[in-house]
Symmetry: C2
Subunit: 286 residues, 2 copies
């Protein structure tokens, strides 16, 4: 038995995978329950996945190295929720709990679009923005496990109010919610569909959106100098429409663009499985 198991706790669904030799052997999908039912649901997914060497769980939000969920946008009311200890008790064996974006970054670095990078950012453009990074050929978690909360990087100090309490957070502009705001309330998926069909107004919205995404990517590049940036999350599924304006603006906005190598902007390859695969790998020390 060399397969490793990972479960990604998403906003609406929990996805479990059994992973071995670079391949998914089995997947299990369940609706994300209320926080008080989470441990039971995760244990059911784990048992259904079958035999595994180790198990890791990826959760959005502030996750401590001890596997305590400090605060999570997908688990309302889960403050100081000791997920690792509770799930270990339920399953009777050790498990690992990681931030979901850190997990996804690790998976893309090891088996996806980030292969070969010494310094990398993985960003997930979904309802919000998550991130994880590699510096000096090592996955970085920060001093308390909270690195990569890039969605709350302030890019407009007097900008749009964010539910986090601040103003001008990057994810207010460069996420799916941000695209909807740019388009005056139209859903992001609809804007992308219209743009794909060649609608001029929708293409303009995507251009504005691409500039906002690029501002954050440029900031991350000026800060950690990655050679690869992997773009994932729901919006990356429409890469043909979304990526060209991001790339155009990135070149224009980067500091000293003519005197430096630019990072490669790559589309994520592992899709919705990245978080679960990464959690599985990290649980086994890969």
């Amino acid at each position: 038995m060399t397969a490793v198991a990972g479960i990604d706790v998403g906003g609406t669904k929990c996805l479990g995978v059994l992973f071995e030799n670079g391949k998914i052997l089995k997947s299990v999908l369940r609706p994300t329950p209320h926080a008080d039912q989470l441990v039971v649901t995760l244990a059911e997914i784990a048992r259904e996945l079958g035999d595994y060497k180790t198990l890791g769980v990826g959760v959005p939000g502030l996750i401590t190295p001890a596997g305590v969920v400090r605060e999570s946008p997908n688990l309302t009311g889960a403050v100081e929720f000791d997920l690792r200890a509770r799930l270990q008790k339920e399953l009777g064996h050790e498990i690992d709990v990681e931030n979901d974006a850190t997990s996804a970054a690790h998976a893309e670095w090891q088996f996806g679009a980030g292969r070969g990078a010494t310094d990398m950012w993985m960003i997930t453009l979904g309802t919000g923005i998550g991130g994880g990074f590699v510096s000096g050929s090592k996955l970085q978690r920060g001093s308390h496990g909270f690195a990569g909360e890039i969605g709350h990087m302030v890019v407009e100090s007097q900008g749009i109010a964010c539910p986090c309490g601040q103003r001008g957070c990057w994810e207010r502009y460069a996420s799916g919610s941000g695209l909807a705001t740019i388009a005056g309330g139209e859903r992001g998926e609809e804007v992308i569909a219209r743009a794909t069909a060649g609608d001029k107004q929708a293409l303009e919205y995507l251009d504005v959106f691409g500039r906002w995404v690029a501002i954050g990517l440029v900031n991350l590049t000026n800060i950690t100098d990655p050679n690869v940036i992997v773009i994932g999350g729901g919006l990356a599924e429409s890469a043909a429409s979304v990526m060209p304006p991001i790339k155009k603006w990135f070149k224009q906005l980067l500091y000293a663009p003519d005197n430096r190598e630019h990072p490669e902007l790559r589309v994520a390859q592992l899709g919705k499985n990245a978080g679960a695969i990464g959690a599985a790998l990290l649980s086994a020390g890969f």
Copy 2:
């Protein structure tokens, strides 16, 4: 002979130090010459420092791992300037060339305010803003040696125009130049002197300035989760006036402030010597 030598190439002065067992044995100061005289001047400083095991030079701007100055604000016209090869030829031995802020960060981490940090930012608030960082207990340079160009992190997308060609770069607001802008053209030193004397208007300027500094520090914290942030550069010399508003705003602006440990904000300890000491240490592999 176990002493190591470092030279920091500043905007107006080049400072050389001979460093051993945590102490500066000797210093040499010379005006920074035009780029075409730089190699000769640095060689003179090196010879005047006396016997050393290794020599490192810290230079602001984009410095490649091979010691080529791609672009430097302190060396006008120095584009693709092969400083390492030229100085090696002049001196007849190998030398190391590093980014000055990376060098300063390393020195503060090893011998200054950053001791004990696993994840750290050192920021220098001077005419502009420089930075260097430690992640996972390792000094990070990025994939091309260009990490830490944090002064050009965009914090106000339609903000003040920066000489770099972009708008709203952090250093337009949170450096000495930024403080002067906030104060309507008054020099930063004068604002600080008035604030120290209790002048209400000057204290208000410093409060606005502190908010801008904090926005950038919060961004860096959300991105890499340091346990220590070291604040150096000319403005840190007035820490009693400058630090209280920075600390106040930092607590207010941090993402999820009640659910996480905050990094310690510490004032740099090595002053103007940090860059030269760090370059010396890095040249010897410390």
